[in-house]
């Protein structure tokens, strides 16, 4: 089996506080795998990201190289080496 690509994960707002860091390097084939790896590495972000049933919370935003995964392949969005994944909890302003 091919080794999963290495990506940079950038965390923001409460996720940053929960993880105690703003950036983590992880390896994953897709976003689903990446979120699993993220929660395994920083368990405290789990409740910010996921509902009790393990689904991604509605207002959590995940971008791969600046593009929201909603308009790529959702949780199945594949990752390539060197990608930047930005993960935001619910935020708003204006």
């Amino acid at each position: 089996m091919m080794e999963a690509p290495s990506v940079t994960v950038r965390l923001f707002a409460r996720l940053r506080e929960a993880a105690g860091t703003s950036e983590i390097a992880l390896q994953a084939q897709d976003i689903r795998g990446l979120l699993d790896a993220l929660v395994a590495k920083a368990p405290s972000v789990g409740s910010e990201l996921l509902e009790a049933d393990g689904q991604l919370r509605q207002a959590v935003t995940v971008m791969v190289n600046g593009r929201n995964i909603e308009f790529l392949g959702g949780l199945d969005t594949p990752l390539r080496g060197g990608d930047t994944v930005a993960v935001f909890p619910v935020v708003a302003g204006g």
Partner: protein, 578 residues
């Protein structure tokens, strides 16, 4: 229901109360200011001439116990756009005005022998001499006005740039600590007030009778539903996203999405954005002993505001909003919060709108007057504005004026008003709002960033240009909210929770004693927008004014390489159809 209008004639120096005409009984906030301006101001008049008027109106529910509803609309013909203007501000001033039983203040005519101050209290209203306040900064003036009247008066003021007829002059209102930090900033309404010969309005709410609610049962039911929604939503609840980080949390989100304009809209992303992010600011406020969360008016559940200070915790400046941080920061290539804080302080003191000022500085940087990133130089330029030097005069009329003077072609304006902190090439819906709003480029006209970027109120692809219907609906809903008197941020909850929206509508119906349902919102908003567009058409606007500047169609935006590709027919259909 309160039914008084205060008409202030600056030529005759009279301030008289009159009955609200029946046609205006169901109107408040933006609905009322736009209706009065449309009825009483000739669309072709000079905005600083004798026929323009300034109208200030609290929202329908403002001054009641409805949550997050301390909003005021200020209207008139804009010297910046040449069209109708409604500029909106959150401040206790709005609540006090409503509690004094006043649905609107209309300031008309011109006093040319100096400046007056309008003092309003439960006993009545009078015009007094204001010549001692001429030429002074607003922070000091507001402090001295509190001493001259009493603590807890509410103040609206025009700054020194308004005295110089600046097209970029806002109206300042006091925050809860008395500072001149809350602004009806957009569109040059400070100069409209100053050109009437009016410098300040001071309200004394002592003994104010309050807002009469016609159907208390319906109002209370609605208020509870809305409050529950605001307290439950992750964005608006106490300790939620807005209370924790303020509006500036958007810096990193927009930068990651490639839609945060840097260096006069020449790029959508820069790694230095992190230095001026909401996360960074929250950390510094905590370290310095600033205040967060903070409310712009009593009774707000959301509390998105804050008090920013200098490095040693001294000299509280007030709130550093997302739009201000962006305009005075990344858009000028400045990535230092302390410099941005001082630029914001200068704007608050002079009476300048921060969005227009940041865009103007960026345009003159592009035009070679200053290097991008030169914060000290930008502060020096604002001192030139204060002194009214020729360079200062070039800067005080906004980005379009400065761009013309310096021969710059990348000037991000619509209808003469500079764009806020979202590049429309990366977020198409907000570009439709900028293009089609009767106000000029205005993000609050239809805040499609919520579904396009933030995943609130649904999720839509920011790059999809087919959003005419979405923006039509959002602009109408916004016009309703601006008329009701609610903070636009209540929309985050009402977009996601149908019961909260129902509650909002019930509070309006309860105050008015009129049965209203959610189905009425669209028609109420449409009527307001139609009145505004009719005024603009008579003032000379055509479809070609509902367009973004050419460079946004021609220049791709790094890093993602998009242009603004919404067809003209789609823009023309937004406020015409449906």
């Amino acid at each position: 229901m309160n039914t008084k209008i205060l008409r202030v004639n600056m030529e005759r120096l009279t301030a008289e109360f009159e009955e609200l005409p029946d046609a205006y009984r169901s109107l408040g906030g933006r609905g009322l200011t736009s209706a009065i301006v449309a009825a009483e101001v000739p669309p072709e008049c000079h905005p600083l001439g004798p026929r323009n008027k300034l109208v200030l109106a609290p929202g329908i529910v403002t001054g009641t116990s409805a949550p997050s509803s301390g909003r005021l609309s200020v209207g008139g013909k804009s010297p910046l756009t040449g069209g109708i203007k409604e500029s909106n501000v959150g401040s206790r001033f709005a609540q006090t005005l409503a509690r004094l039983g006043i649905r609107a203040i209309i300031v008309e005519g011109q006093f040319k022998e100096g400046y007056k101050l309008l003092a309003v209290g439960k006993a009545g209203a009078e015009l007094v001499d204001a010549s001692q306040w001429i030429g002074q900064g607003l922070y000091a003036s507001f402090e001295r006005l509190e001493e001259a009247f009493r603590d807890r008066v509410d103040i609206c003021g025009a700054g020194v740039v308004a005295e110089m007829s600046a097209r970029n002059s806002g109206l300042a209102f006091n925050d809860l600590e008395g500072r001149s930090t809350r602004y009806a900033g957009r569109g040059g309404l400070g100069a409209v007030m100053a050109s009437r010969g009016l410098k300040f309005i001071v309200l004394d709410g002592d003994g104010a009778p309050g807002v009469e609610v016609e159907d208390k049962e319906v109002f209370d039911r609605g208020r509870r539903k809305l409050a529950e929604g605001l307290k439950a939503h992750d964005v608006t609840k106490p300790g939620g996203a807005l209370a924790s980080y303020g509006t500036n949390v958007l810096i990193n989100v927009m930068n990651e999405a490639g839609g945060l304009p840097h260096r006069n809209f020449s790029s959508g992303q820069d790694p230095r954005a992190e230095e001026v992010s909401g996360e960074r600011k929250a950390e510094l406020i905590q370290k310095r002993g600033g205040v967060r969360p903070h409310a712009c008016h009593p009774g707000c559940i959301i509390q998105c505001s804050e008090v920013w200070t200098r490095e040693d915790g001294a000299d509280p400046m007030g709130v550093l909003e997302y739009e201000s941080v962006w305009a005075l920061g990344p858009n000028c290539g400045i990535y230092d919060l302390d410099t941005i804080g001082e630029l914001n302080r200068a704007c608050n003191d002079l009476g300048l709108d921060t969005i227009e000022t940041g865009n103007t500085l960026a345009v003159v940087m592009e035009g070679g007057l200053l290097e991008f990133g030169d914060g000290a130089g930008a502060l020096r330029l604002l001192e030139e504005v204060r002194r009214g030097t020729p360079t200062g005069r070039l800067l005080m009329h906004g980005a379009a004026f400065a761009g013309t003077a310096l021969g710059v072609t990348r000037v991000p304006v619509v209808k003469g008003q500079a764009m806020p902190a979202y590049d429309p090439r990366a977020v198409k819906g907000i570009g439709i709002a900028y293009a089609t709003s009767p106000m000029g480029a205005d993000h609050t006209a239809g805040y499609s960033i919520a579904p396009e970027i933030l995943g609130v109120g649904g999720k839509v692809d920011p790059l999809d240009p087919d959003k005419g219907a979405l923006l039509r609906g959002l602009q109408r809903a916004t016009a309703f909210i601006d008329s009701a008197g609610y903070c636009l941020f209540t929309a985050f909850a009402v977009l996601d929770f149908p019961e909260a929206l129902e509650g909002m509508v019930e509070t309006v119906g309860g105050v008015l004693g009129t049965p209203l349902t959610v189905d009425d919102v669209d028609a109420i908003g449409k009527k307001i927008l139609d009145a505004e567009r009719t005024f603009n058409a008579a003032a000379g606007f055509t479809q070609t004014d509902d367009r973004l500047p050419e460079f946004m169609h021609l220049e791709t935006l790094p890093p993602h390489g998009h242009v603004f590709d919404v067809p003209a027919e789609e823009l023309d259909a937004v406020l015409r159809d449906g």
